[in-house]
Amino acid sequence: MSILRLRGRCRPLPIATSPLLRNALPGWRLRFVHGALMLLFAAVIAMSLYLQIALQPDLQANGEKFSNHAQPLPAFRGMILDRHGNLLAGSVMTRTIVADPLQIKHDLVIQAVADILQQDVKQLNRKLAQKKAFSLELATPISRDARQSLLELNIEGIYPESDHRLRIEPESLRTEKATLAWGQQSRIRELSALLDMEPGKLAKLMEDGLAKGRRYVELRRQVRESRASQIAELRIAGISQSGDFKRYYPMGAVSTHMVGFTGMGDSGQEGVERAFELELSGTPGVWKTIRDRKGRLIEDRGVTYAANGQDVRLSLDSRIQYLAYVALQQAVSRHRATAGSVVVLDAETGEVLALVNLPSYDPNDRRALFGDKLKNRSVEYSYELGSVMKPFTVARGLDKGIIRPNTVLDCTYGSFQVAGETIPDHRSFGELSVTQILQRSSNIGIARIGMAMTREEMGENLTAFGFGQKPGLGFPAETAGLMRPWKQWGPIDQSRIAYGYGVSASILQLARAYLAFTREDRSLPMLSMQALDQPPEGGKPVLSARTRHEMLDMLESAVSAPGATGGQARVPGYRVGGKSGTARKLIDGRYESGRYIATFVGMAPMSAPRIIIAISIDDPTAGKYGAGEVAAPVFAEVAAGALRSLGVAPDMPMQVAIETGEITGELQ
């Protein structure tokens, strides 16, 4: 308060009132000092202008670098689950432990030297850091043992001057060349225990790294967070950690063609991982803060939270998937086939319950991710399916009223020519009813039915059953198969297409086509690899209800009738139906003799179909090659397991004889 009041009374002080100064102060001195002060002020102002305007962006950036922190908030990639919520793919944060051997060894050697000389490490290090040669005064004379230990360390740059004095030359102190007993260092032992590694192996890694001049040696990848923080607590300078995500596929090779895998940067490479990349990938967040010199948080500058990727629930049933994988693997190895596929669909909704291909690979093993085995054959590979296509011709014939199931046709070998060519058959059947034609798979019989229709009718029939179209799973490499427009067909083409040659399709398309027989409304929906809440719309019916029933009966008889080609597809306790097809393999545009692809497609139980299973076994070379012997048993095995796992009640009386002999009974 008094200051404020004082200001009012203030008067300018007379500068040179002293009589001493009056004459002795020449005017130039005053002006000189005044001028010099002004100049200094000007310099200060100029400097501050320079700092504030010219250097401002740089300085500000530098300052922000020190105070501004951006803390990354990691986002997890979504999980892939099967229809029951079992994990098919999940991400876990892991850490990689990295060592700088040079730093670690230097510290250890200096520690060893300090221990021998009974010196304080910190002090010793401080002196060494000055990089000037110095003499070290010891409190007690250096002992013989200490001398020996120093010699054993085998380092240059430490020379005894007398009993009490050592000369140390930091420049020639090459610690990396010292002979260090790694295993005796307590912290190395602790580290190796935490890394699950022999101390000797750890030492070897370090020494190898040193020999190659590496300053970045990966000690272990994929270390768990809890373990990693224990390692961090050891506080070894030169041990650092980097974090990343590791994706695990618990079912490994079993479901890999469906699930796929991720590549660099955690982005989907194959399968569902790729098809659902948008949903699965998360967006990492960031928290911007201002921190003080010691890194403590001071101010919040806004946060963007991490958004984890969405989980994707597939329609896959991992139990059926596993059953299919094991059954297929046994069949492929038993018949020495090059490849094989199984597709299991829900017979009502068109959801994919299992999809297996062989050869397969383990997506957990990154080194295995190359080559042909990555190919999702059941989705991407189309071939001439052969006899499994015959039911479509028969279905259209029934629908058009050209034939009835009991219509008898002459299937004697050589009895039927088209455009001068005899339709081939594997044997001469004589007279067969349409039902028997399907049971025995007579080419002649089917060709007769096909030739009774127009090209257009047959072309539209195949289109109605979904051939030439993608089945709709959504995989990028999904094939639509190959089907020439019906206008380009000659008569011989038409007859061949009737019994399954001349049109190629994937077994996924084949399985989908059979949905028209199993679905109550006889329509053909797109397939789905995601679990659906309600059955999908399928559009207009492909065939009449009456035809559907007749077809189901005929397909059942193609398995159950004596001498039927699909006999080995029978499942104890259940009525099943299906059709086998042994197609000759087209290699470089020619049918190679003795090379076949065995296909079987069937459904169960026939009273109310729940599943459709399509199987293809490529190039069986162990003697048997007929689909009825190679592919049909796989159907039986997968269907039995799948029906049991789905809890489907048996629809056929059966007698059971169980191997152990203890449980024998009749199930009704």
């Binding site: 272990r220 079912m251 596993y322 957990n364 093993d365 059966m654 004889a657």
Partner: protein, 111 residues
């Protein structure tokens, strides 16, 4: 006039103190948020680790291997004709190879 000035000064000082306290409180809360954030991430991480571990331990391949090799279980053979079959001499089929690798992987301890 004088007391008003004094009051204003007092108010200014109190407000300054209040601001400082509020800032301190804010910073404390912020640090708490940060801590909880870290905790949440750790728990999330643990949850996922446990999920992966559970599904690896419960994988059908592993269950089948243990059932066959350790517990000596066999799949009963059901035949259609109704006759009892003698226990087959054929050894039970081995668990599929690639699946074994995953199991080894799961037990590797480096997860």
């Amino acid at each position: 006039m004088r007391s008003l000035r004094f009051l204003l000064l007092l108010a200014a000082v109190l407000s300054a103190l209040g601001t400082v306290t509020a800032r301190r409180h804010e910073i404390r809360l912020l640090r708490q948020v940060q801590l909880e954030d870290k905790n949440a991430l750790r728990l999330q991480q643990e949850y996922r680790e446990l999920l992966v571990e559970r599904s690896m331990l419960g994988s059908y391949a592993r269950v089948e291997r243990i059932a066959r090799d350790k517990l000596g279980m066999v799949v009963p053979v059901i035949n259609l004709s109704g006759t009892k079959t003698a226990p087959s001499d054929a050894p039970s089929p081995p668990a599929p190879e690639p699946v074994r690798q995953i199991v080894a992987h799961a037990g590797g301890g480096t997860l």
